[in-house]
Symmetry: C2
Subunit: 255 residues, 2 copies
């Protein structure tokens, strides 16, 4: 029986992988990887049999049940099995289901965290998700729209937070706008849509919540984040103010 490593590949750029993940990939006998993981990262597993197992947004993907089964089967025959997931495995990665399958089969596993896309996007656009005097809470969520029940699952935590980052939502941008406005978020809330964070193909769009339905119109096709909050308003707070004193930043929030 082998050991399975559930490894976060990070946000996209191959050098945003952790040292630990790189070392484990080099030792892998078998690698099961998401379709979105960078080819250079996959190539680090030089001696491994490589199996692509989905999932790509909007395209055909391997059913989770099948991935779980494959993982268990492979671990029964190989010493070092790596399950490489985009971003971090424990955030929107359905790792718990794979962990459940491994536990049920009595297979040893270890989880290696990764840099999540929200932090890579924040670094790339140069805007902190938190900021003294302006933001001390950040909500990360995967939106779904439709029924009241579905929307009440994630929207209240987004509206209540100072800063929010929505993963896998850009295809539903008009419905997300409607949902957040209905729940009282200001139409003037600054928004950034960041596509392909950390990759050379990265694109950033600056808009407000009232303009969010235009996001798909920009041809956003790659994995994209919708980032909302006053921290994204470049004019709200002068950088120099924040840097000039140790006193709280006196920066008015828009109503």
């Amino acid at each position: 029986m082998g050991k399975v490593y559930l490894v976060g590949a990070g946000p996209g750029a191959p050098d945003l992988l952790t040292l630990r993940a790189a070392r484990i990939l080099e030792q892998a006998d078998v690698l099961l990887h998401d379709a979105l993981v960078h080819p250079d990262t996959v190539a680090l597993a030089a001696n491994a049999e490589k199996i692509a197992v989905g999932k790509r947004c909007g395209a055909r993907s391997t059913a989770q049940r099948f991935i779980n089964k494959r993982l268990v089967d492979v671990a029964r025959k190989h010493a070092v099995v790596v399950r490489l997931k985009g971003g971090d495995p424990m955030l929107f990665g359905r790792a718990q289901e794979e962990i459940g399958a491994l536990e049920e089969a009595n297979i040893e596993y270890e989880i290696v965290p990764g840099v999540t896309a929200a932090l890579a996007a924040s670094a790339a656009i140069g805007v902190s998700l938190t900021r003294r005097g302006l933001a001390r809470s950040v909500t990360l969520a995967t939106p779904r729209v439709g029924t009241e029940e579905e929307e009440s699952d994630w929207a209240p935590a987004v509206v209540a937070a100072d800063t929010a980052v929505l993963y896998m939502g850009v295809g539903q941008a008009p419905e997300i706008k409607r949902c957040l406005l209905e729940r009282g978020m200001s139409p003037a809330t600054p928004v950034r849509v960041v596509e392909n964070a950390s990759l050379p193909t990265m694109r950033e769009f600056r808009l407000t919540l009232s303009e969010l339905d235009r996001a798909p119109g920009h041809g956003v096709a790659g994995p994209a984040l919708i980032m909302l909050g006053e921290v994204f308003d470049a004019s709200a707070c002068n950088s120099a103010d924040a840097a000039s004193a140790d006193a709280p930043v006196t920066c008015l929030r828009r109503a």
Copy 2:
């Protein structure tokens, strides 16, 4: 004039640094680092002059204003300056103030994201922050307690989220408990307190919100996270259920 790299050192374990951060550290002429960064990570900057600039929870720390000034002074004399921060620089790291000082001084900078402590803790305890059918929103926050105004800054986003992770709060555990109960969070909400996530000295405490005031009694002294939500209830959802089918997990949430 040099270039400043604001680099995330990750959660603690030296091999949870990114490949990019390691490469930049090796090229550093000067390194300004937080007190909590692991000595092995600091040592990667083999050729750099090293300057510890705080901040350690509860101990004396260098004033942010002084760090900003030091960063600018050093960048005027050296080619590669690294500002190494625990975790990720753009989340609770006061990076925006350092960015403001660098922009004001016309100094080039680049931000390198890191693995944040919440994800390292989640990996270490084997519990996803999100889970299909149970959690699709995660709030990360730094609590402060006292006035209604202070508490309304972060607590509503914590109460509204499926999962919440509080950074730098364990010293105020009794007040956090009181504040969250007042705002309607169930006393039975499962809680994990994770100290020194990713380090060999890591400790994990399992409790409920009603028991949170006991956390300091366990002698938690290192940097610790308070993690709250149904995902942390080991008995709420059988792993095998989640793994057995592609249908939504039918897992009742506690009222």
